[in-house]
């Protein structure tokens, strides 16, 4: 089980702030492919991965990173703090 979090317009497109997912995805990219296949909302949110960032257990990471041992995955657009 992995906790998946969505922020900003990713959250709005998917319509959820977070969900628990049972997955066999080995990398972030695998998880993205799996989620995109679910329905049009997910497909829209993940249409352009270059516009997205991912954090694994609250650390910025890469889409090629492995998921084993990871408990929390977050998807969001580039940050705009400050």
């Amino acid at each position: 089980m992995v906790n998946v979090l969505y922020f900003a317009w990713v959250r709005e497109r998917i319509g959820l702030p977070r969900e628990e997912i049972e997955t066999k995805a080995e990398t972030v990219a695998d998880l993205v492919a799996e989620l995109s296949g679910r329905d049009a909302r997910y497909a829209a949110a993940f249409a352009d991965v270059s516009a997205l960032r991912v954090a694994l257990d609250q650390q910025l990471s890469e889409f090629s990173a492995p998921l084993n041992g990871v408990r929390e995955v977050a998807f969001f657009p580039p940050m705009t703090g400050g």
Binding site: F7, A74, P77, P78, M79, G81
Partner: protein, 146 residues
């Protein structure tokens, strides 16, 4: 070192008044205040979303990097989230050091990293519709100088 992530307003003057001036080795204090700007004149509010948990970690890591890179006597970061009105204070950083170069550089470093590496997202709520603020290429490019 003080890091605060909060919904509540903060008082920039009060924070500046009590920050970093007590050490006898402090010669320079730099502070930065970010304010909600209303360029088009029809901004109703600025909504700031963040990632509780990761936000504190990211700000802590950025602050640690500044403390180890410059010889700072003290450092302060405050960042708000929630709905802010035009003209309201969004965030501030402050640095105290012996010399001005370190205080200025560390404050700019904190701002550059905060902009692109701390998980905050801004949404402008306008009378004519709302939009997420886009990350600027030059904000990402600004990291290159450090």
């Amino acid at each position: 070192m003080h890091i605060r992530v909060q919904r509540e307003p903060f008082d920039f003057g009060e924070e500046c008044g009590r920050f970093g001036q007590d050490g006898r080795n402090v010669g320079a204090v730099v502070s930065f205040l970010g304010v909600v700007r209303d360029d088009s004149g029809d901004l109703a509010s600025m909504e700031i979303e963040h990632y509780p948990g990761m936000t504190e970690k990211a700000l802590g890591a950025i602050a640690d990097a500044a403390m180890s890179r410059w010889d700072l006597a003290d450092l302060l970061v405050i960042h708000r989230f929630g709905a802010l009105a035009p003209g309201e204070a969004i965030m501030m950083v402050a640095t105290a050091a012996r010399h001005r170069a370190a205080a200025f550089e560390a404050a700019e470093f904190l701002m550059d990293y905060l902009k692109s590496r701390a998980p905050f997202w801004k949404k402008e709520i306008r009378r004519e519709g709302s939009a997420w603020v886009q990350a600027r290429d030059d904000d990402e490019a600004a990291l290159g100088r450090w």
